[in-house]
């Protein structure tokens, strides 16, 4: 018998059953019809499936849905305000396929930065550096964009962070 699980997705509660093999990505897209997160590679290599689970950015393709019973999931469709607007204004996309993952990842980046987390390009790891282009590029490196809209993506994240330019 398939296990039952309850998830909150973008504020709405869903109770469903699913095979233990189902990824969170497939559960969202195919069972619940929530198509904002995208399937790029299904192997953790592209970031298109990024969602926030209990406030942290994760890859929904490598997450087994059954492990997240009771979790609160936020997809790009559930994020509004300055961040998606900054992507629009900066032309932070072309075809748009990677964009929901980019937006969720950017939300994670802003939160991690607010917590004071360093990145590997941070000169002094005990410091919280400003989100300049090098920091943004490193922190967003888990999201590939086949259209190469990286310049706009960086700009969108920088604008949303309210950080100084380069």
């Amino acid at each position: 018998m398939d296990p039952e699980l309850t998830l909150t997705v973008d504020g709405a509660t869903h109770t469903t059953t699913c095979d233990t093999r189902t990824s969170l990505l497939d559960l969202l897209r195919r069972r619940l019809g929530i198509t904002s997160p995208k399937k790029g590679c299904d192997h953790g290599q592209c970031g298109a499936c990024t969602v926030l689970v209990d406030g942290r950015r994760v890859l929904s393709c490598l997450t087994l849905a059954v492990t997240r019973d009771g979790a609160e999931v936020v997809t790009a469709a559930g994020i509004d305000g300055p961040l998606p607007q900054a992507f629009q204004e900066a032309d932070g996309f072309q075809c748009g396929y990677c964009t929901p993952g980019q937006v969720c990842s950017a939300a994670g980046v802003l939160d991690e930065h607010a917590r004071g987390w360093p990145s590997v390009v941070t000169a002094d790891l005990t410091d919280t550096p400003a989100l300049d282009d090098a920091e943004i590029a490193e922190r967003m490196s888990g999201n590939l964009c086949r259209c190469g809209a990286y310049k706009g993506i960086r700009e969108a994240v920088r604008t949303a962070a309210g950080a100084a330019t380069r």
């Binding site: 093999r21 950015r57 890859l59 997450t63 059954v66 994670g108 005990t126 490193e138 888990g142």
Partner: protein
């Protein structure tokens, strides 16, 4: 994918019993490696025992260091103020690995136990002694860019892909293990094994043995982690070096060095350490240490051009990393 059962017991002992009981059961950490393997069709457990909530997610102070619960994520570990200030080699190694999303999922127990990224291991259609003992090794003479230059055998030339494990191998690290017959502690440098004629066995852990925590001591000296890869981020290491050098008045009192991307294990650079200890912290000494460490390195030919480039690359990366740990006299 074969159907499997999923269990999330309340205690570590129950998880160990559940896995020990079934030869086809496996522990599930963050799942970033195991779930990929399920999908690739190279792992087909009948039971997954989720250990993320039953192993500790705390990092606690112990005498002279830290005890890191197996459930602590790579992201939380790298962000810990004690790790950033007193174990920067570990923080840097963690932050150089994978991506922000993956580090939020990957665990302290799962990271050192991730399996090789050898493309033939990951392809069920290829011969691979690690995946199917006795089937041969398609990597030998194949594409060997990511393969070993140290400690390889005629049965397997794979490398260990973890960055975190390279830092842990350089540090004084103990692995706390719970098995069906009770607990034991293993030096981290004894956890991984060379392939020999049993490459299917990555580590000294027996089936059903659970990593519950990892203890790390604070070393004296300056830290550096350097990773060389095919793109600037979100890529595995071709070669990496973790080093902690304790230099007083120009003399190396202690050296802790490990290499990544070069062997089946995170490679503790004992020869380089011995060469340096007690001597001067000079460019010549660093070059001599790197020379000594790579003296037995052997390249793998391959249709992609092979991996002979890794020997000078490892030598130079090692020298450069040692230089990074040494304060310059003049700016």
């Amino acid at each position: 994918m074969r159907p499997f059962a999923y269990d999330r017991p309340d205690t570590a002992a129950a998880a160990v019993a559940a896995v020990a009981d079934r030869p086809d059961a496996a522990f599930l950490g963050g799942g970033t490696n195991l779930v990929d393997h399920l999908r690739l069709g190279i792992a087909d457990p009948g039971l997954l025992v989720d250990v993320t909530s039953l192993t500790s997610t705390e990092i606690v102070d112990i005498d002279g260091g830290l005890r890191i619960g197996a459930g602590v994520t790579n992201a939380d570990l790298a962000a810990d103020p004690r790790v950033r200030a007193r174990l920067p080699v570990l923080a840097a190694a963690l932050l150089s690995g994978a991506s922000g999303q993956l580090r939020n999922m990957a665990t302290t127990g799962g990271n050192p136990l991730q399996r090789t990224r050898c493309p033939y291991f990951q392809d069920p259609a290829s011969a691979c002694n690690k995946r199917v003992p006795g089937s041969g090794c398609a990597a030998i003479g194949g594409a060997t860019r990511n393969h070993a230059i140290l400690g390889a055998s005629e049965h397997c030339i794979a490398t260990h892909p973890s960055d975190m494990a390279v830092a842990l191998a350089a540090l004084d690290t103990q692995v706390r293990i719970l098995g069906p017959d009770g607990g034991r502690t293993l030096a981290f440098t004894d956890l991984h094994r060379l392939p020999g004629d049993t490459p299917e066995q990555d580590t000294e852990l027996a089936h059903g043995e659970l990593i519950t925590a990892i203890d790390v001591s604070y070393p004296r000296g300056r830290h550096a982690y350097r990773k060389v890869r095919d793109r600037a981020s979100y890529a595995f290491a071709l070669v990496s070096v973790a080093a902690v050098l304790d230099v007083v008045d120009g003399t190396v009192l202690d050296a802790r060095i490990a290499l990544g991307g070069v062997a089946h294990t995170p490679w503790r650079a004992v020869r380089a350490e011995d060469t340096l200890r007690g001597g001067p912290a000079t460019e010549e000494a660093f070059a001599a240490a790197a020379e000594a460490e790579l003296a037995d390195a052997r390249p793998q030919p391959g249709f992609d051009g092979g991996n002979a480039f890794k020997i000078p690359l490892a030598r130079r990366t090692l020298t450069a990393t040692l230089r990074q740990t040494t304060p310059r006299e003049t700016a």
